[in-house]
């Protein structure tokens, strides 16, 4: 599987890009002697004009490069954690609905549908506004609006796996239903979930940046969305302030998408997967 994955050029570009972003995020404190909030030079310093400040300074004279590196931390963290939380909500719910069917399914799906019916960006805005923007509330809000598709996907997968004969075989072997779900059914649904998760991280990063752009970011955490939001009013006089974080988002999301597609191909040699729920 790794072989198939690594032979996919796009996916490898994605991996390299993502690794770069992750490394920068991890080593940000080592790479920069100052925090992203420190006012180190005169404001609006153009990129590539001063040593030590390769990407220039922002409206308050803070180092854009350092902001970018610290911003990576927040974006990745929010992306990963919210995806994890969404999986923690969506997978069990979808699995139970798909496996037990009947009223469990009906109930779970009504519940899911209900969340899907509220436009999700609007819901995220309301949630963040209500709980006040902190990294935690933003992450949770993103998770809350992103779990329904997971639940639907897992449900669909579980329903199809549940009908496979090896599940009947396990029942004949006398395994209990929860055990069948855990050991026989769920392991067979992981590949689409992994693929979906990689794409969700990308979407979450975009969502966080959109919230930040609207002023609903955590004011104590530097993020790319914050940078663009803060820079939009000076977009005319200081293009680099919104350009670099914009590119950073594009590349990271691109990387995650490439990886997702690579995984999709690698985990699905027969490309026979249907209906992404």
């Amino acid at each position: 599987m790794w072989k198939r994955f690594s032979s996919n050029i796009g996916a490898m570009i994605g991996v390299v890009l993502l690794l770069a972003v992750i490394l920068i995020a991890i080593f940000a404190p080592l790479l920069f002697s100052h925090t992203p909030w420190q006012m180190v030079q005169r404001p609006f310093l153009t990129p590539f004009t001063m040593d030590g400040l390769p990407l220039g300074t922002d409206t308050l004279g803070r180092d854009v490069a350092s902001q970018l590196a610290y911003g990576a931390r927040v974006s990745l963290l929010v992306g990963l954690v919210s995806t994890l939380v969404a999986l923690l909500i969506g997978v069990p719910l979808g699995a139970l609905a798909g496996f037990y069917g009947n009223w469990v399914d009906e109930g779970a799906m009504r519940f899911t549908e209900f969340f899907q019916t509220i436009p999700n960006f609007a819901l995220a805005i309301v949630l963040v506004a209500i709980f006040e923007p902190t990294l935690i509330s933003i992450t949770i809000a993103i998770a809350i609006v992103s779990w329904p598709p997971v639940a639907r996907l897992v449900r669909a997968e579980v329903m199809s796996v549940r009908k496979r004969e090896f599940v009947d075989a396990a029942r004949l072997a006398g395994l209990s239903r929860p055990r069948i779900l855990m050991t026989q059914v769920l392991p067979n649904t992981v590949s689409p979930i992994i693929v979906m998760a990689s794409l969700m991280v990308a979407t979450a990063i975009l969502l966080e940046s959109s919230l930040s752009f609207l002023g609903l970011g955590d004011p104590n955490a530097m993020s790319w969305g914050y940078m663009i939001g803060a820079a939009r009013t000076v977009i005319r006089s200081a293009w680099w302030l919104s350009f670099f974080p914009g590119i950073a988002i594009v590349l990271t999301v691109l990387a995650l998408n490439l990886i997702g597609e690579g995984l999709n191909d690698a985990l699905n040699p027969h490309l026979s997967r249907k209906g992404k729920a």
Binding site: P43, T59, E132, P219, N220, G229, S237
Partner: protein, 494 residues
């Protein structure tokens, strides 16, 4: 001078309503200032000028104010305007709806209309600043024939406001624009000059700048673009700007510091905050050089300002000393920024950085407008940004923030920091009811000297909001209230 023409002016945010008697926030007044009028206007030295009142007298004891109204004034629906409308507005309508005016009206004994063109305000005791209360935002005159006996808040006519002003309401396309047209029956001959005015709703600051650049709008009232954009716009050909028109309001910004609890209850901590902040940096960088670093509670452009006070220059060492002296233990303090856009956000970030550099553990609490109102009025903050209008007189716009009688939960427009100083309270009260300006000046100078040492709040900056407009627009700002006072005199050069 020239007849005709059209102006497009940015209004931000979109006003909740245009009935000035019910809502008096900035955007509403900007638009409704063309529709409604009051008895007086004020020039840039804050001297009263005629408006609906042609002339007026104040008795020597300072207790009787008599106004003579213009003849032949008509409401926009054609009904005649009379003294009865004034009495209804001031005594009935606004008493119920207008909290700020209500405070001034406590000094008033009676309001009467001896005839159709005369109104008399009889005061219980002298109140120096009373003459400053006849501005359109403070005392808008509303039509009695429409509102008398109705539920003001839900009166259907609120959607199509009727005033006496130079422009009539025509159309409001929500989210887009408000259209006003010339009042052909205006009582001043030849005025107004403009045919129509469009107030444009553009929610994004960058888009507003673009709108001005591309010629879509002609006037950017103060605060509608971020300060960073101002130099760029004013450098364009044919673009003018002015800082005038804010004398009456003289907005002054500060941070409330919670005097009740936490480190901010210690005066040394509050002084340390003052020393830790590089306020000149903020003025130069965040405000792009606009405005002036504040020295105390009174703005330098208003009448009773005194600079004979302790100066808190940027001095981190001193701040650290003070903190060491009080034994600051690193307890976290929350900064509540004013949710009014990027400038304020950056400002809070700069302050947080300044504070953390002297060892104060500060973090920013983020909220929207509703949350800000809630937190400040519930006293749930450590440091909170705010700015307030001074309304031309310390007794109207300053004292309310420092006297103990104004400590009350539920409103962000009073003594929110919880400062209590009975001695000063008395001095504030005495200064308000002195009759001559000279006496008052002395009293206020003393108050300022004392309060600045106590640092109940961290005074930041006298704000300046330049109005940006195309140079062919003439007489845009003619009073101390600026374009909020209406476009009665404005005209466009061909």
């Amino acid at each position: 001078q020239q007849e005709g023409g059209r102006l497009d002016i940015v209004v931000q945010p979109e006003p909740p309503g245009l009935m000035l008697g019910l809502v008096q926030n900035g955007p509403t007044q900007l638009v409704a200032g063309d529709i409604y009028e009051s008895l007086l206007r004020y020039n840039s030295d804050l001297e009263p000028q005629p408006s609906l009142a042609e002339s007026w007298e104040i008795s020597d004891d300072g207790l009787t104010y008599t106004f003579h109204l213009h003849e032949g004034v008509k409401w926009h629906d054609g009904e005649p305007f009379t003294a009865a409308d004034v009495v209804f507005s001031a005594d009935v309508f606004l008493r119920e709806t207008h909290a700020r005016l209500r405070a001034s009206l406590t000094y008033v004994e009676s309001i009467t209309a001896p005839d159709d063109t005369t109104v008399v305000f009889q005061l219980k005791e002298p109140f120096g600043p009373f003459i400053n209360a006849f501005e359109a935002g403070t005392m808008p005159i509303v039509p009695k024939h429409i509102y008398e006996g109705t539920d003001y808040a839900t009166n259907e006519m609120n959607a199509t406001p009727i005033g006496t002003g130079p422009f009539k309401f025509d159309e409001w396309v929500k989210g887009s624009y408000i259209h006003l047209v010339k009042n052909e029956d205006y009582y001043l001959d030849g005025k107004p000059y403009l045919d129509e005015v469009f107030y444009r709703v553009i929610p994004d600051a960058a888009a507003r700048a673009v709108a001005f650049e591309t010629g879509e709008v002609d006037v950017l009232p103060g605060g509608s673009v971020e300060n960073w954009d101002v130099p760029r716009l004013t450098e364009m050909d044919g673009v003018c700007s002015t800082g005038a028109g804010w004398e009456f309001f003289a907005p002054l910004s500060w941070m409330w510091m919670n005097n009740r609890e936490g480190p901010t209850s210690d005066v040394r901590f509050r002084q340390a905050v003052m020393y830790a902040m590089d306020r000149n940096f903020v003025k130069d960088v965040v405000w792009n050089g606009f405005g002036k670093v504040a020295t105390g509670p009174v703005a330098s452009s208003t009448n009773f300002y005194s600079d004979d006070v302790t100066q808190y220059d940027y001095n981190p060492e001193k701040a650290e000393e003070l903190l060491a002296e009080m034994g600051y233990d690193g307890e976290a303090v929350r900064i509540l920024p004013l949710p009014y856009g990027e400038t304020w956000q950056r400002w809070a970030e700069a302050v947080r950085q300044n504070l953390s550099e002297v060892g104060i553990n500060a973090e920013i609490d983020s909220t929207d407008v509703a949350g800000w109102n809630e937190k400040t009025s519930q006293w749930d903050y450590d440091l909170a940004f705010t700015y307030l209008y001074q309304y031309g007189d310390p007794a109207l716009g300053v004292s309310r923030n420092y006297v103990a009688s104004q400590i009350s939960k539920g409103s962000p427009w009073n003594n929110v920091e919880g400062y209590e100083n009975p001695e000063l309270d008395e001095k504030w009260a005495a200064a308000a009811s002195m009759v001559t300006p000279e006496e008052r000046a002395v009293a206020y100078a003393e108050i300022q000297k004392e309060i600045v040492d106590d640092v109940p709040v961290a005074w930041l900056q006298e704000l300046e909001f330049p109005t940006i407009y195309r140079c062919d627009v003439q007489d845009l700002v003619t009073t101390a209230i600026g374009i909020n006072d209406g476009l009665r005199d404005a005209w466009v050069e061909e």
